[in-house]
């Protein structure tokens, strides 16, 4: 009742006061009254003996401040140069970092989707599914979109671009790079069989792809963008077919791997029996990557063609690691195999992706 008649209530500090807790509540999309309730319940404030009224006033104030700052947060570099709010540098960094942080469960849902209006309409469902408040979903989605738009056409290393333009920490910038990379290449991540993979799994894979398969990976001259896989490389991958098409080479490869692994892995017999299939799967994936559609299916292919067979044969992670290591290295000893660099570049990424993805 009394609160209703408080017509106006503001607090402005020369140094803008930011309560991190309230900021988080705001970012999480809680309404003012929810936030007040949660603060009342939290232990942290119990010693202040703050009444609901005081908390309401404070929360309103903070929310207003955040709303006013939000415009600046959309272009974080402005925050350092604007004159309206005097915020110490480390607080600015905190504001930005937190604003751009996202829920991995949410990101997992959006990963690989086109960052368009259409997807934005589905946010209700995602919100329901992930338990992330719709407001927060919108903010996160808009962040993805904003970062994507800015970075999309920039030259140079993706992670660095994100970091420079949005002043984010290294790890957060990497996550954004993953999101942008997935959104750009539209990798399939939504299939049921891929559901067990977390955002972190994909982010790791994205990092690998960005680091080794894009133009920027080999050429530091920034001539092309980091967002796309290197066309030439993908084209060259067709050459790897020789490993399965040449019968001698395939046999030789198998015997070399078996020689190395004998006694070292539990699933040796299964491996021996399946070697040709597994090798064929990996090489087929490689050779098809010229096709955009198949690029998108990279992860589902890896799961269906490689991970699932291994899993059904109950390979341990250790087995898999040893197998992939030797599978890669022994190819070098094949006399007829001339694509050493290409092979290394392909298998390095595939190996680490598979290992990351090989879990329940």
């Amino acid at each position: 009742m009394r609160r209703m008649s408080m017509e106006l209530d503001v607090f402005v500090g020369n140094t803008t006061i930011i309560d991190e807790e309230v900021y988080q509540l705001w970012l999480d999309g809680h309404s003012v009254s929810d936030a007040v309730r949660m603060r009342l319940e939290s232990d942290a404030l119990s010693e202040c003996e703050a009444s609901g009224e005081v908390l309401h006033s404070d929360t309103m104030d903070q929310y207003r401040t955040f709303q006013m700052c939000e415009r600046l947060l959309h272009c974080p570099s402005k925050l350092a140069n604007q004159l309206l709010f005097q915020i110490p540098a480390h607080r600015q960094a905190m504001l930005i970092e937190r604003y751009y942080e996202f829920d991995h469960t949410f990101a997992r849902e959006v990963l690989g989707k086109k960052l368009s209006k259409g997807t934005k309409k589905d946010l209700d469902d995602i919100s329901l599914k992930t338990g992330v408040a719709l407001k927060s979903c919108r903010r996160q989605f808009d962040n993805f979109k904003r970062v994507f738009k800015v970075v999309e056409e920039l030259k140079g290393p993706l992670v660095e671009n994100v970091q420079h333009h949005f002043l984010l920490s290294d790890s957060l910038a990497r996550d954004y790079a993953a999101v942008v990379f997935f959104a750009n290449s539209r990798f399939e991540t939504g299939k049921r069989k891929l559901q067990y993979l977390s955002f972190q799994d994909f982010a790791f894979c994205a990092g690998q792809l960005i680091s080794y398969w894009t133009v920027g990976a080999v050429d530091n001259m920034m001539e092309d963008m980091d967002v796309d896989l290197e066309k030439e490389f993908l084209h060259d991958l067709k050459d790897l077919k020789v490993l399965v098409n040449d019968k001698d080479m395939l046999d030789q490869h198998k015997s070399l791997v078996c020689y190395q692994l004998k006694g070292k892995i539990k699933a040796f017999s299964e491996m021996e029996a399946n070697f040709k299939n597994l090798s064929r799967a990996l090489i087929n994936i490689a050779s098809k990557l010229t096709n955009t559609k198949d690029v998108r299916d990279l992860f589902i292919d890896l799961v269906e063609k490689f991970i699932e067979p291994c899993r059904s044969d109950k390979w341990t992670v250790g087995d898999l690691t040893l197998f992939l290591t030797h599978y890669t290295s022994t190819a070098h000893t094949l006399e007829m195999f001339r694509f050493q660099i290409l092979w290394e570049r392909y298998m390095g990424v595939i190996k680490s992706c598979i290992l990351k993805m090989y879990h329940d």
Binding site: M1, R2, M4, S5, M6, E7, L8, D9, V10, F11, V12, G13, N14, T15, T16, I17, C48, E49, A50, S51, E53, V54, L55, S57, D58, M60, D61, R64, T65, Q67, M68, P76, S77, K78, A80, N81, Q82, L83, L84, F85, Q86, P88, A89, H90, K149, V150, E153, L154, K155, G156, E160, N161, H164, H165, L167, M222
Partner: protein, 1176 residues
């Protein structure tokens, strides 16, 4: 042609999109000064234009330089239609006119629009080349320094304190001109902003002229205010203290350590630009206190409430019959019955004039030839307090007499409400709860032999002072040895009716021409001037009544509602040492000898002759600096009012009062026990809606009660905290259509020199009922507990008190003073009380009606400050010395809508009290991370913007201190510790300089990291970057995105209402900041409602202040003050408007730790500023 102003427009950034089609803007800039306008080229299609213009040069009179702001307008070029304004920047170039202030203005300024707020920023460079003009008849006063700080600025030394300067200018308010109906809100707001800027400039220039005439070179404690009188116009007025200041050559000596004896008059004369004897001399000559007390007593509508000189609490005034008798006995002796209407020194002459003037009923504004205003008041309305009243008229009849000297022992002038009937109908009310304190102890207490000498000393200073029209000082703290004794608070109020003047000369054609009293015959400014003159006279006479010859901590304010205006003035009566005024005695002599005013010359000679003794006496006084200022300034045997005096608890030689109220800061040398705290009295009174005369009468009838109640509350709260003195007392009375608000704030302390305050005893009225008795005793217990708790909280353990208080905080009867609560009480209680509590000493709260119960409740419900927090409204908190450098200045505003229209006084009181208490609670909560901390200079302002709205605004600074302070008793360490920050967590605010490599390679910017100068360097950098990029705009523009890593070029600017920043040394004052902004919106909901609107406006004002300071090369604003915050809304129309006026001193400070690290280089600052000037 004494000045050349040069301006250069460098660049813009973050401009708003003005062309929707391209999402870009074609911006250009108009630079205007006076009537000259220059334009830059259009910089097409960019939100970050690089104009890099030539230098625009304006050749102007220095008079204009002082009055006019440089006006920069950013526009969007439009080929087919009118160019759209993006926004404006007004730059006050006054700081460039003083050689000791800034030399260049350079930096990013927010582009401000009154409708849209800040819209991007613009980088501007401004310089002034000034040719010296020695024309003594000049109209300009370039070079006079202005300070908002109410003490001697930290890097200066006071050579001489000349005294009070005041001025006001009046104009029509553009908002009320006919043209306002046809122009846009934007145009109207801008007209207003510009007009106020012009008027401020003019006002400052005129005050500067007065200072030059007095032979000074600076104004300290400059307080400028404006009154929006609506239809009747706009008044901008200012007061200040003229001084001659010397810049300390070694800035590393603490300013307080100056030895005033060093000041040689000759040097002073050399320093001051022109020590020209002037017309002012004449004026002061005539203001001898003996005048036909004429005209001013007539009161127009003036109900002046000669207010409380707070004094010993023992006598209380009551309006009822019963207590009256008693009160008269206690308080006013026989005098009151004898002179029921006009009390005070019954000079026959005066009484006559008085009566002859008062009855004039004429409504019409009188012409300026007469000094009366409209006279409406009933005859009986007035009670005069003043023993003498110098007036304007005296100028024409200078009949000096030797009577002047008499006023050393002014006759007791206490007027009481001896007649109830009279009080009721009376408009004015004076209760002299005079308190005050001992003077140079005039004889009585100090022993006879000191008497004559002291009298001489007093005469001598007094002579010096009395030659001034008003011996007022806006200072609140003083160089050591300047303030000798403090009397008590003196204040005066007067209710006036604002009347529209019909002045045919005021045509539309002159809409911007300033009206001032020199150039125009309009009577308005003179009327306003006369109003203030009258109030000041009253203050002066109050001071005399307290045996004091000067008023310190003086301030003036107004509250306007419709056509009623309350003028208020208050200060602290004091006795000052002549040390800083000796020169003026000499000066006077020169002047006088020219004028051959023989009588005065002899007076002056006498004064001069006494100087030797003065010095020795002064020295003697300094022997006990910690308590001397508390000693009563008046003669004990001839006390102006009955006060309970005791021997000083420090020196045991002089007498002191039991309670002391003042408007000044706690003197640094004062002996204080424990810590202090903020004490507020809050009151709300309903008032019937009325018009004009009736309204004014109603208000003036209410005022006395309001003041009385406020005073009672203050006193009770003071006792409850077991303290005995108030500093920084500020009483604000605000008037609305249907209510009056009163808010008194002060900092309570326990002065060691004063006696321990008594407790509070509750007395019931009807002792018949047992439960009632129980109730009473419960309450008494609560009060006792609270007092005990407070003593612990504020660490009040005076050693000599211990035995007295053992077991119970209720003091011995002799320690008590008495307080009567009710307005209606029967006489038998009185005798009963007398029986139970002894004589005059009991401080008793009587519960005789619900009113009193409420009051006691509210007394007890004042929430204590949470642990770790202290608060005060003075500059420093006694008992806290080791501040850290963490500080947070803030402004908080609340507006409360009274939902229930038919509120009673109690209901209103509760609402108002809760509003203030909750606001404080919120502040404590918000600032909890700074604990342990003290809210300093807590400044509340209240207003009644509309019928059912109460607005409360608070500005204060929260400062952290180190908890583990050693309990030092010594005052000696204050100065050191005050300045010493134990922890240097300042860095929390320092933005890392991303460009450090770049800037360190740049020799210009290597100024010891004083601050990251936001000079032209950042802009130069940016522009080079921009140029390097071939594509001007667009998202694919940057390679590797250098843009975003341009780093922060924003200087951190600290703001504080205090005159210093702990742990730092102010090495340069860059000039005064005095800014006025209007913000309006027609899309209130979209901007987040009223709160969103005001929140962003206040943030914008802060931003603009910081930008201006940074552009001057500064890194802090001290003595910051938000003088006005007028908020109006119309939610139905989705509209709101707000006006804010702020002021302060721009300074450069350096951390003391840095000072120690680097060898003293006093010139680093100037080197810095000048280097930034050459930066382009």
């Amino acid at each position: 042609m004494p000045g050349k102003l040069k301006a250069k427009i460098v660049a813009g950034r973050h401009l708003p999109v003005m062309d929707r089609a391209s999402d870009l803007t074609d911006a250009f800039v108009e630079v205007k000064f006076g009537n000259t306008t220059f334009k830059t080229d259009v910089y097409p299609k960019s939100l970050n234009p690089q104009w890099n213009s030539e230098w625009f040069k304006f050749e102007v009179d220095d008079e204009d330089l002082q009055d006019e702001p440089l006006q920069i307008t950013v526009l969007d070029h439009d080929t087919y239609s009118a160019n759209d304004a993006i926004g404006k920047v007004y730059i006050d170039i006054d700081p460039l006119l003083s050689s000791e202030a800034a030399t260049v203005i350079s930096g990013w300024f927010p582009i401000y629009d009154t409708i849209h707020g800040i819209r991007g920023e613009i980088n501007v460079l401004v310089k002034v080349e000034l040719f010296n003009d020695l024309n003594r008849f000049r109209q300009s006063s370039c070079g006079v320094k202005f300070f908002c700080t109410t003490s001697i600025p930290r890097c200066y030394r006071a050579v001489m304190v000349h005294g009070f300067v005041e001025e006001l200018v009046v104009n029509e308010d553009p908002e009320y001109q006919w043209i306002d109906r046809i122009r846009t809100p934007r145009a109207s707001n801008e007209a207003r902003q510009r007009l106020i800027s012009l008027m401020s400039g003019e006002l400052q220039r005129k005050i500067g002229l007065k200072v030059l005439e007095m032979g000074g070179n600076a104004v300290v404690g400059y307080l400028q205010c404006f009154d929006l009188e609506g239809e009747s116009g706009l008044v901008v007025r200012a007061i200040g203290t003229a001084c001659t200041l010397d810049k300390l050559s070694n800035t590393y000596t603490p300013a307080t350590a100056i030895n005033p004896c060093n000041s040689s008059p000759s040097k002073d004369i050399k320093d001051s630009p022109q020590a020209v004897p002037s017309a002012l001399g004449c004026r002061s000559t005539h203001s001898s206190p003996v005048h036909s007390a004429s005209s001013r007593l007539s009161q127009g509508f003036s109900v002046s409430v000669p207010t409380l000189l707070f004094a010993g609490m023992k006598h209380r005034h009551r309006s009822s019959d019963g207590p009256r008798a008693r009160q008269c006995r206690a308080g006013f002796g026989e005098e009151a019955p004898g002179v029921p209407l006009s009390s005070g020194p019954p000079t026959p002459l005066r009484a006559q004039t008085f009566s002859s003037f008062s009855p004039s009923k004429s409504y019409s504004r009188q012409s300026s030839s007469s000094d009366t205003e409209l006279s409406l008041t009933p005859k009986t309305a007035r009670i005069c307090l003043s023993p003498s009243s110098p007036t304007l008229q005296s100028k024409s009849s200078p009949i000096p007499t030797t009577k002047a000297l008499r006023s050393t022992t002014p006759p007791p002038l206490h007027v009481s409400q001896s007649d109830t009937a009279m009080l009721r109908k009376s408009v004015s009310f004076s209760e002299d709860l005079l308190l005050a304190a001992s003077g140079m102890g005039s004889g009585g207490s100090a022993g006879k032999e000191a008497g004559p000498l002291k009298a001489l000393l007093r005469q001598q200073t007094q002579t010096a002072l009395e030659q001034r029209e008003f011996p007022f000082f806006t200072l609140t703290s003083f160089p050591p040895g300047f303030l000798l004794h403090v009397g008590g608070v003196v204040s005066a109020r007067s209710v006036k009716l604002l009347d529209r003047i019909h002045n045919p000369a005021l045509g539309n054609t002159r809409s911007y021409k300033l009206l001032d009293w020199n150039s125009f015959t309009a009577d308005e400014p003179e009327t306003r001037d006369a109003w203030w003159e009258e109030i000041r006279q009253e203050i002066k006479s109050h001071a005399k009544a307290l045996g004091c010859h000067a008023v310190v901590g003086y301030s003036e304010s107004t509250s306007i509602c419709e056509e009623v205006c309350i003028l208020s003035a208050s200060g602290t009566a004091a006795i000052l040492s002549s040390r800083f005024m000796q020169d003026s005695a000499l000066d006077t002599e020169h002047r006088l000898s020219r004028q051959q005013a023989s009588v005065f010359t002899s007076g002056a000679e006498k004064g001069e002759g006494d100087m030797g003794s003065t010095a020795s006496l002064g020295f003697e006084d300094l022997m006990s600096p910690g308590c001397a200022f508390c000693h009563i300034p008046y003669d004990e045997l001839n006390m102006p009012f009955p006060a309970q005096l005791t021997y000083c608890h420090c020196c045991r030689r002089y007498k002191v009062p039991d309670v002391l109220f003042t408007t000044i800061d706690l003197p640094t040398e004062a002996n204080v026990t424990g810590k202090g705290c903020l004490i507020q009295a809050r009151l709300c009174r309903t008032k019937k809606k009325a018009q004009g005369e009736g309204n004014a009468t109603a208000i003036s009838n209410l005022l006395p009660f309001l003041e009385y109640e406020l005073h009672t509350q203050l006193m009770n709260k003071l006792k409850l905290r077991s303290m005995n003195a108030l500093f920084g007392l500020r009483i604000q009375i605000s008037v609305g259509e249907n209510m009056l608000l009163g808010l008194a704030s002060a900092t309570g302390v326990y002065l060691t020199a004063l006696p321990s305050p008594g407790g509070i005893q509750i007395a019931g009225k009807t002792p018949s009922d047992i439960t009632y008795e129980q109730h009473i005793s419960n309450m008494q217990k609560k009060i006792n507990d609270t007092i005990a708790k407070n003593k612990e909280l504020y660490e009040i353990n005076p050693p000599d008190l211990v035995e007295e208080v053992i077991g119970s905080p209720i003091p011995e009867p002799r320690q008590r003073s008495r307080l009567f609560r009710s307005h209606s009480e029967s006489s038998d209680e009185v005798s009963e009380l007398d029986l139970s509590h002894g004589k005059k000493d009991a401080f008793v709260l009587e519960i005789d009606d619900t009113d009193a119960v409420e009051d006691i409740h509210s007394l007890l419900t004042d929430a204590p400050t949470p642990p770790g927090f202290y608060s005060c409204n003075t500059e420093i908190m006694p008992g806290i010395y080791n501040w850290t450098s963490a500080l947070q200045m803030f402004t908080s505003v609340r507006v409360f809508r009274l939902s229930n229209v038919n509120l009673t006084n109690q209901g209103l009181n509760k609402v108002f009290n809760d509003l203030c208490e909750n606001l404080l609670k919120s502040l404590y909560f918000k600032l909890r991370s700074m604990v342990p901390c003290c809210l300093c200079h807590v400044n509340f302002t209240v207003a009644v913007p509309e019928d059912e709205l109460i607005q409360v605004a608070v500005t204060a600074v929260a400062m952290s201190f180190d908890k583990d302070q050693t309990q030092e008793n010594g005052r000696q360490s204050i100065d050191k510790n005050l300045m010493k920050a134990i922890t240097e967590n300042e860095d929390q605010l320092q933005f890392p300089l991303e460009l450090s490599a770049e800037s360190s390679s740049n020799p210009l910017n290597s100024a010891k990291g004083l601050s990251e100068v936001s000079g032209p360097l950042p802009s130069a950098r940016v522009s080079s970057l921009e140029k390097a990029s071939p594509l001007p705009e667009g998202r694919s523009r940057s390679l590797r995105s250098n843009r975003s890593y341009a780093g922060s070029s924003v200087t951190v600017v600290k703001m504080t209402p205090l005159s210093f920043i702990p742990g730092t040394k102010i090495i340069k004052y860059l000039g005064i900041i005095n800014m006025f902004f209007i913000r309006e919106t027609t899309s209130l909901r979209e901007e987040g409602g009223v709160s969103g609107f005001l929140h962003s406006f206040i943030a914008e004002v802060f931003a603009m202040v910081r930008a201006h300071v940074a552009a001057l090369g500064g890194n802090a604003v001290v003595s910051y003050n938000m003088k006005e915050c007028v908020f109006m809304e119309n939610p139905n129309k989705n509209q709101a408007q707000c006006l804010i006026n702020v002021s302060g001193d721009a300074v450069i400070f350096v951390r003391e730790s840095e000072l120690e690290a680097t060898p003293p280089q006093p010139h680093s600052a100037s080197a810095q500023t000048s280097s930034s000037g050459e930066g382009t």
